[in-house]
C-alpha cells in the first residue's frame, strides 16, 4: 500500500509539528538555566575541588548549568569593578571577606537576607560565619569554605634538630634561626614579602598589640606596638632566617620553596594543604601547627570565601548553586581535593575531618581565630601601602618607624 501525501495533508502535518514545537521546548527547557561563576581558584587542587563540587551539583540539579570562569586574584578587583561599571556582571561571584566592603559599597552584591533566613541549612552555620558578609543587618552571601591560617613546618627537620613545635612567635624566630643553613640552601622561614604578603604583616602588628580595627569600630594603629610587630617580622630576614628573595616572594615562591626543601616553615592557610601533600609526606616530612601566640595576643585569621549573587536576574538558579556549597558532601569533597576547611560547623564535624590528625591545628584555630579587619578601603590600604612599606624595611630602604608612619598616613587617607 502506498501512502499518498496531498498538499492539504502536508499543511496539516506542518501545522501540527509547529504547535508541538511551540509546546515541547517549553516543557523540556522551561527550568534549564545557565549561570556563570567567577572564582579565583588557580592551583590544580583547587580546580579539582571545584570540579568535584560541580559534579555533585549537576547530579542534584541537572536543570542548572554552571560555567566557571577563573579570574586570577591579582586581576580580580579590576575585572569585577569593570563588570559592575559596565553592567556585565557574572551570575555568581566568589568574594573573600576582605573584599566584601569594597564590593558592597560599589553596589556589586545582591541582598539575600530573606533567602538565607529561610534556608534549611542556616542552622548548620555559626552566626560568626556570616559576620564578614553582613552589613547593616543585610546578608550578601553564603560562606563556601574557610581559609584557616596555620603554619606548615618540616617535621623531619624539627625532629632532626630536636626542636619543639613553637607555641610563641619568639620560639618561632629561634627555631627559624636554628634551622637555617645557607650551606645546605636551607632557610628557617619562607617569608612572603611579595604579592599577598601584606596580611601576615597586619597580623604581626596585631599580635604585638596594634589591631587595625578596634572593638568599637574605630580604625587606627598604635604606632609603638605596630613598630614592634614590623621589627619582629622583618628580623626573620635581617637575621638570615629567610631567603634573600623574600622581598619579592609571592604565593608560588613560598610554596615551591617549602616543597623543594629550601624552607622549614611557611605561613599560609589550609587551602595549600593538598598541593604540599603532593610533594611531601604528611605527618612524616611535614606537619601543621596553629599560629604561635604573640606577646599580646594570638592572631590567626579565619577568612571566609563567600559565594554572592552579583546578577539579580539569575538569582533563583544562583541561589541553588551558592547554597549547595553548604551541603556536607560538597564541603567534604572540596576539602578532600584542596584542604580548604568547611564553613559549616556540621560539615566540620565530619569524621573524615576530625579523624585526620593533620587537621588538628585547623580545628584548634577555629577556637581562637578571628576574621580579617574589614572596612571600605581595607584591601587597598593593605596592598598599596602596608606591603610596599614593609618591603622597604626588608630591603633596608626604610626603618620600621618610617614604614609604620607610612602605614598610619595611608590608613588615615583610606578611611577619610
Amino acid at each position: 500500500m502506498t501512502t499518498r501525501f496531498g498538499r492539504r495533508s502536508i499543511l496539516q502535518m506542518g501545522g501540527g509539528l509547529l504547535a508541538a514545537s511551540a509546546l515541547l521546548p517549553r516543557y523540556a527547557f522551561a527550568q534549564a538555566k545557565t549561570i556563570n561563576y567567577w572564582h579565583t581558584f588557580t592551583s590544580q587542587s583547587e580546580q579539582a575541588g571545584l570540579d568535584a563540587v560541580r559534579a555533585l551539583f549537576t547530579a542534584a540539579h541537572p536543570d542548572i548549568t554552571v560555567i566557571p570562569e577563573n579570574i586570577p586574584n591579582p586581576e580580580f578587583m579590576a575585572k569585577i569593578t569593570a563588570a559592575v561599571v559596565a553592567n556585565t556582571r557574572p551570575s555568581v561571584t566568589m568574594v573573600s571577606s576582605e573584599r566584601f566592603q569594597d564590593l558592597r559599597a560599589m553596589g556589586a552584591l545582591t541582598d539575600i537576607t530573606d533567602r538565607v533566613s529561610g534556608w534549611e541549612r542556616r542552622g548548620d552555620f555559626d552566626d560568626s560565619r556570616f559576620a564578614s558578609i553582613t552589613d547593616d543587618g543585610k546578608v550578601y552571601g553564603v560562606p563556601a569554605f574557610t581559609f584557616v591560617d596555620w603554619i606548615y613546618y618540616r617535621k623531619d627537620w624539627f625532629e632532626e634538630a630536636g626542636i619543639a613545635v613553637p607555641t610563641t612567635l619568639a620560639e618561632l624566630h629561634d627555631a627559624a634561626v636554628k634551622l637555617t643553613d645557607p650551606a645546605k640552601g636551607r632557610y628557617g622561614f619562607g617569608l612572603r614579602g611579595g604579592p599577598g604578603g601584606q596580611n601576615p604583616v597586619i597580623n604581626m602588628m596585631e599580635a604585638f598589640g596594634s589591631p587595625v580595627l578596634h572593638a568599637d569600630g574605630t580604625i587606627g594603629l598604635d604606632r609603638d606596638k605596630a613598630i614592634e610587630g614590623v621589627t619582629f617580622y622583618a628580623s626573620l630576614l635581617k637575621d638570615g632566617a629567610a631567603p634573600p628573595s623574600a622581598p619579592n616572594d609571592g604565593f608560588r615562591q613560598i610554596i615551591e620553596g617549602f616543597q623543594t626543601g629550601q624552607t622549614a616553615m611557611i605561613y599560609h592557610h589550609t587551602g595549600s594543604y593538598q598541593d604540599i601533600a603532593s610533594k611531601l609526606k604528611p605527618g612524616v616530612e611535614f606537619g601543621t601547627m596553629a599560629i604561635p601566640a604573640g606577646p599580646v595576643t594570638r592572631v590567626a585569621r579565619l577568612a571566609y570565601a563567600y559565594n554572592t549573587i552579583t546578577k539579580p536576574e539569575d538569582a533563583d538558579a544562583a541561589w541553588e548553586w551558592i547554597k549547595f556549597w553548604g551541603e556536607p558532601d560538597a564541603a567534604v569533597a572540596f576539602l578532600e581535593k584542596t584542604g580548604y576547611f568547611p564553613a559549616s560547623t556540621v560539615a566540620a564535624q565530619d569524621q573524615r575531618i576530625v579523624g585526620n590528625p593533620m587537621y588538628a591545628a585547623a580545628a584548634e584555630t577555629l577556637g581562637f581565630g578571628i576574621p580579617q579587619p574589614s572596612f571600605p578601603g581595607a584591601a587597598g590600604w593593605a596592598e598599596s601601602t602596608v606591603l610596599p612599606a614593609f618591603q622597604r624595611v626588608l630591603i633596608g630602604d626604610a626603618t620600621p618607624e618610617q614604614a609604620v608612619d607610612e602605614m598610619i598616613a595611608g590608613l588615615a587617607e583610606a578611611s577619610q
Binding site: 560599589m106 634573600p244 622581598p247 578601603g377 622597604r392
Partner: protein, 317 residues
C-alpha cells in the same frame, strides 16, 4: 556615434531616481564622498577614543571613589592635581618611568638596529633568522613576563644556574628582590620582548635606501661606520622617530610587564606612573586620582612627541 553623446539623457524612471546604487555612484563623484568615507572611522574614534579620553579628563576633576559612595561624585576641580604635587610616590613613579622608558628604548633600539643591519646582508639563513628574531614580539606581555619570571627565579631559574656554572655568581641571586637589580632585570626582559619592533621597522627602512649611495661612499673611501653614520642613520631618521614615539607611548601606558614581574616592588623601586594609576583605580578604587594621573601621562606624552619631532627635524625632509 558622436552625435548620440550630445543627445539629452532620457528621463529617469521612478526606480532609477530611487536606486541607492545609482545615488551612491553619483555621490562618489562629488567632494562630499571623502567625508562619507571618513564618517565610519570618525564615529568609531569618537566612540572608543575621544569620548573615553574626555570622560577621563572630566573624571580627574571629580571625586570618584567607587568604594566610598558616601563621599559623592562632586566636582573637586584641581584637588587631585594639587595632591599629586605633594605626593612623593608620584614623583618617584615619574622618575622611575623616565628610567624605565629611556633605558628600555635605548637598549631596544641598539639591539633592533644591530639585528636589522645583520639581517639586511641577505646571507644564507637570514630569512629563518628573521622569523626567529621576531618571535619574542609575538608573545603577549603576560606570557613573556611569566616566562622570564621563572627563568630569573632565584631557586628554580635557569639564568642563575647558568651564571653559577660559569662562575659569574657564587650563590643564587634574587634579581627582583633587590632594588639595585630589579629595574635593570625588568628592562632587560622588556628589551628582549620588544626589540623586534625596531628590527622590523628598520629592516623595512633599509630596503628603501638606494644601493648607489653605498657604492658611491665605497668609492669615496668611507668605511662601514662612516656609512652607518652618514647614510644609514640619516636615511632612517623618519622611521626611527616614528618607532621611538610609538614605543614611548607603549611603554609609558602599559604596566602589565612590571605588574607581573615586580608589582612595582620591592619597596616601590620599580613603581612607574602607569602602574601607580592602575593601582589607584583598581586597588584603591580612587578613579578621580587615577584619572588625574592618566591626564598627566597624556600631557607628558603629547609634550614628548612634539619636542621629539621638532628636535629630530623629521618634518624638514
Amino acid at each position: 556615434m558622436s552625435r548620440a553623446l550630445y543627445t539629452a539623457a532620457p528621463p529617469r524612471t521612478v526606480w532609477e531616481s530611487i536606486n541607492p546604487l545609482r545615488m551612491i555612484g553619483e555621490l562618489s563623484e562629488t567632494r562630499y564622498w571623502m567625508y562619507l568615507l571618513l564618517l565610519p572611522s570618525a564615529l568609531l574614534i569618537t566612540a572608543v577614543v575621544l569620548y573615553p579620553t574626555l570622560y577621563g579628563f572630566q573624571m580627574s576633576f571629580r571625586e570618584m571613589r567607587l568604594n566610598r559612595p558616601d563621599v559623592g561624585t562632586d566636582w573637586v576641580f584641581f584637588k587631585h592635581y594639587i595632591r599629586m604635587v605633594n605626593d612623593p610616590i608620584f614623583w618617584l613613579s615619574l622618575r622611575n618611568t623616565a628610567i624605565w622608558v629611556t633605558s628600555s628604548i635605548a637598549l631596544e633600539f641598539l639591539i633592533g638596529l644591530t639585528a636589522a643591519l645583520a639581517l639586511n646582508r641577505n646571507l644564507p639563513g637570514t630569512k629563518l633568522l628573521a622569523v626567529l628574531i621576531l618571535l619574542p614580539y609575538f608573545l603577549p606581555n603576560v606570557v613573556a613576563g611569566h616566562m622570564w619570571g621563572l627563568m630569573l627565579d632565584p631557586r628554580l631559574g635557569v639564568i642563575n644556574d647558568l651564571l653559577m656554572r660559569v662562575g659569574l655568581l657564587d650563590g643564587y641571586k634574587a634579581w627582583f628582590a633587590d632594588p639595585k637589580t630589579a629595574m635593570a632585570a625588568a628592562i632587560i626582559v622588556e628589551s628582549w620582548h620588544s626589540f623586534p619592533f625596531f628590527t622590523l621597522l628598520i629592516m623595512a627602512g633599509l630596503k628603501g635606501i638606494p644601493a648607489d649611495l653605498y657604492k658611491a661612499a665605497d668609492i669615496d673611501g668611507a668605511g662601514p661606520l662612516a656609512q652607518l653614520r652618514l647614510i644609514t642613520l640619516p636615511m632612517l631618521k623618519t622611521i626611527i622617530a616614528a618607532a621611538v614615539i610609538l614605543r614611548v607611548i607603549g611603554l609609558v601606558n602599559s604596566p602589565d610587564l612590571l605588574l607581573i614581574l615586580t608589582s612595582g616592588g620591592p619597596g616601590r623601586s620599580t613603581q612607574v606612573l602607569s602602574l601607580y594609576a592602575f593601582q589607584m583605580a583598581y586597588k584603591d578604587f580612587n578613579f578621580g586620582y587615577a584619572g588625574a594621573l592618566s591626564v598627566v601621562m597624556f600631557v607628558l606624552l603629547m609634550g614628548f612627541a612634539w619636542i621629539y619631532v621638532r628636535l629630530s627635524k623629521v618634518n624638514e625632509d
